[in-house]
């Protein structure tokens, strides 16, 4: 699969890097106060960030709020962005930190509780799940059902395994960038991804 190349080499002048990477150019313009550049970055990355956050939090409503928070943080701390690192790494680092904080907050349970009584209770969070009793390989499992099974299995993964798997296998970040986002070593990322894929294999083997 296509994976983004590893971290950009250090000590490269910002202008050179800006010409090589359009996101760096945009971010430099955001640092200069240009809100149009911020809007462009938002439109480019928010679909990926929203999908990532949705899978991490398993909640559509909260995912939209956290996605907003991600980009507000991008803007708030725009002065801290260094062109040596890829913008995608930076934005997914922020997203991962916010998601992990969110998952570890007991108050998240409160928010879920508040939604329990919603009039729209029939609306399920996240993709709908196929009925396990109704689906089997002998009935020719569709690719869509496999995707749903995978999404469900991903939601069951421990947080860091989930983040490592999503960032590397779906968002295509290099292991070094995933390590940077998770604040751990590359070796640790590989171990996380290995354990995650083993769990997924066990969960969806019959459908593969």
């Amino acid at each position: 699969m296509h994976r983004e190349p590893g971290p950009v080499a250090a000590a490269t002048p910002a202008a050179t890097m800006a010409s090589a990477d359009p996101d760096v150019a945009l971010m430099l313009r955001v640092q200069a106060g240009e809100q149009a550049a911020f809007q462009e970055l938002f439109r480019k990355y928010s679909p990926r960030v929203l999908q990532y956050v949705r899978r991490m939090l398993a909640s559509d409503a909260r995912a939209e709020e956290v996605t907003q928070d991600v980009f507000v943080q991008v803007f708030r701390f725009r002065g801290r962005y260094r062109p040596e690192s890829r913008f995608s790494t930076w934005v997914f680092t922020i997203a991962t930190n916010l998601c992990l904080n969110e998952l570890r907050r007991p108050e998240r349970q409160l928010r879920v509780d508040l939604w329990d009584d919603r009039a729209t209770e029939g609306r399920r969070e996240g993709p709908s799940l196929a009925d396990p009793a109704a689906v089997g390989p002998e009935e020719g499992t569709s690719a869509r059902e496999l995707s749903e099974r995978l999404d469900a299995a991903i939601r069951q993964l421990p947080e860091k395994q989930r983040a490592a798997l999503l960032l590397s296998r779906i968002d295509g970040l290099a292991y070094a960038d995933v390590a940077s986002a998770l604040g751990c070593s590359e070796g640790a990322v590989k171990a996380l991804v290995f354990r995650a894929t083993q769990s997924l294999k066990a969960a969806v083997r019959e459908f593969l």
């Binding site: 699969m1 994976r3 106060g33 809100q35 911020f38 809007q39 938002f42 439109r43 928010s46 679909p47 990926r48 929203l50 999908q51 949705r54 939209e64 996605t67 907003q68 980009f71 507000v72 803007f75 708030r76 108050e107 409160l110 928010r111 509780d113 508040l114 690719a143 496999l146 995707s147 995978l150 999404d151 798997l165 296998r169 779906i170 968002d171 295509g172 590989k190 991804v193 290995f194 894929t197 997924l200 294999k201 969806v204 083997r205 593969l208």
Partner: protein, 199 residues
């Protein structure tokens, strides 16, 4: 090569990150081990299935609008703060000096010879107005509040603390009877909170 190592190398092999030497070693193992061949095939299909999962989601327009609104407020707040430090603090300091100077002038002894009484009164009146005008100018120069959400709807404005405390209110029964709940024993309680709190 043992199967355990082969399975650990499979992911790297699928990502084309295995060295040539290791890839050959893995291939030799797969040639003799049917179980690992199956596992490699499953790993490959899983990788394809994961790659087929959608990477993006449609972002509702409301999310973009809310984000841009928050960012505009943040920018205004950051800009106002910077402006306040760069412009208004020196302006206030200057205004303060002017006020003090004017007040000092007003306290001069009344024996000073008048040149033109009308002019002196007019000048004094103008000077008397000036501190007020300067004070008003400094008040209006103070930046309006920014960095806050937009004005609340009536229901929110009527009881803002209700909404700040909403999660607490949602759990009020638990909080009111917190200790009693913690003392409740469950079937699998061996030590239990009751004993711990009494101990």
């Amino acid at each position: 090569m043992r199967c355990g190592r082969a399975r650990r190398w499979m992911a790297a092999a699928l990502d084309d990150e295995l060295t040539v030497r290791r890839r050959r070693a893995l291939d030799r193992h797969l040639a003799r081990c049917a179980a690992c061949r199956d596992e490699m095939a499953v790993s490959g299909r899983l990788a394809e299935a994961l790659a087929r999962l959608p990477m993006t989601a449609e972002v509702p327009a409301a999310v973009e609008q809310a984000t841009l609104r928050r960012v505009r407020l943040l920018a205004a707040d950051q800009g106002e703060r910077a402006l306040w430090l760069r412009v208004f603090v020196p302006a206030l300091a200057t205004a303060g000096i002017v006020v003090l100077a004017v007040l000092g002038t007003l306290r001069l002894p009344s024996g000073r010879p008048e040149v033109r009484s009308g002019t002196r009164e007019t000048t004094a009146a103008r000077r008397a107005e000036k501190p007020v005008a300067v004070a008003e100018a400094s008040r209006t120069a103070r930046p309006a509040r920014h960095g806050r959400p937009p004005g609340p709807p009536p229901a929110l404005a009527a009881a803002p603390e209700l909404f700040v405390d909403l999660p607490l209110l949602h759990n009020m029964e638990k909080l009111e009877h917190f200790d009693a709940i913690r003392m409740t024993t469950l079937d699998d309680d061996t030590s239990g909170d009751a004993r711990q709190s009494n101990g």
